[in-house]
Symmetry: C2
DNA sequence: AGTATTCGAACGGACGTTCGAACGATTCTT
DNA sequence: AAGAATCGTTCGAACGTCCGTTCGAATACT
């Protein structure tokens, strides 16, 4: 903040000096950027249009992949001109950043609520998994991008998203910590358990098809059943 | 095979007619291409150099991603000229195909051996997971590419790799089928269980670091423990 | 009038791929 | 054994295309 240079990106009309691929990418603004604050939402129209752009980009990035989807594709999908798009973001990378950051921010908030609400750690794990499946089904494109395009961001963009992802992970691991505290000494390691679970959750976009596969409730029941009792007894009820 | 047109790709010196991005991509040769057969391994020198090219490409694709890594990067990494590389493959896509196909082919073979060897389904699941971790640690780049770049292939290339992947999946699901047959009626669904496990296995490249994390044996013990008894009892011994 | 938003047109660069010529080794002919 | 022909292998240079981004002017809104 001291220099006053490059502290205000993402705001309409502000195009920072050209840093063609070289610089270390210190783009995102100072505080809570990526959410709704910090973007100077002058008009409701601006916010609506930005959301439309993000939604179209999300669908495109999800179906073609971030690298293969071009800004020209986004232009075609939104009906906006190539140059007009750059009024809403200052680089393709920021576009990806906004999608990822917002998704992690909102799913983190939902998880925090659950942890606050559920005292029993086993019930809490089930609620967490159920919430993740629900969120996934409501926002398949965003979560697919959060899983698949982790390494497409660099510099500050990467760091900010990585922090949010770590928050989501730490919250999940804390649930396993409590499960393991309750159980005896023959439990799994909480970090590994959380990593294993994250693999499963980050992979569902690869195979889940809404019509064919079970709904979120059934999927969560089976998965939490496995993690709490193993595959052979996954269907038994845990607690009253 | 009937037309005699485009039936022999991947062989040195054979450049099929230009189909710039449009055609449906019916490139891979008739039978068991992608392995060692079908590529007309005239000389040992050719095979060695091809393996060097594949290995360098694998490292590049793994670290930068398939799209971001360019043929010029491969050229730089191998010391060969841009044009010289095309003596060993006919397109960048075929390069990716060869890496993926060979990896799936060899890991499928290892899994078939395990299933033939282990009569107890629970021991078999543990052996499968252990084998996968071992294979991953020995071939991190290849498996990362198999997990991350699934959708980069199209047409026949995609189909051939998808078939191999399905074989690996079906073999794994068959293990869960036997586990569930043995157990009572409160088990998980075998297809879901296999999909959940695949998520975990396909995600390890995102976090596993050889020095920091447990070795393959310990990781397999914990993961199979979870799938057989759940997190709270993952450390208990299953059978004698 | 003044600000917010959109656009057509272009720039420079990176990409995958190809072409024809050359090099090196092996084989064939004499 | 010598020279020519063949084949496998490598290369420099270029082609055409697509990309992300920018500029200054034009339009819409308040």
């Amino acid at each position: 903040m001291g220099t006053g240079v490059g502290t205000s990106i993402g705001k309409p009309g502000v195009k920072p000096g050209a840093n063609p691929g070289s610089g270390s990418g210190k783009k995102p603004g100072g505080s809570a950027d990526g959410g709704s604050a910090g973007r100077r939402a002058r008009t409701a129209r601006y916010d609506e249009k930005l959301n439309a752009v993000l939604s179209a980009s999300s669908a495109l990035f999800a179906s073609k992949g971030y690298e293969r989807a071009s800004i020209r594709d986004v232009s075609r999908a939104t009906g906006m001109s190539l140059a007009g798009l750059y009024y809403y973001f200052s680089s393709k990378e920021e576009l990806l950043y906004l999608i990822q950051y917002r998704a992690f921010e909102s799913i983190c908030e939902e998880l925090r609520k659950i942890i606050k609400r559920e005292a029993d750690p086993q019930v809490c794990l089930h609620a967490m998994i159920k919430m993740h499946f629900d969120y996934f089904i409501r926002n398949m494109n965003d979560l697919e991008i959060c899983s698949r395009e982790i390494e497409a961001l660099k510099g500050e963009f990467y760091r900010k998203v990585a922090d949010k992802r770590k928050e989501y992970f730490d919250l999940t691991q804390s649930i396993f910590d409590r499960i393991i505290d309750t159980a005896g000494g023959a439990s799994a390691d909480s970090r590994l358990a959380a990593l294993y679970l994250f693999g499963t959750l980050n992979w569902i976009y690869q195979w889940y098809r809404p019509g064919r596969d079970p709904d979120a409730g059934e999927m969560a029941r089976q998965l939490s059943g496995i993690y709490l009792q193993g595959v052979p007894r996954a269907g038994e009820v845990t607690s009253a």
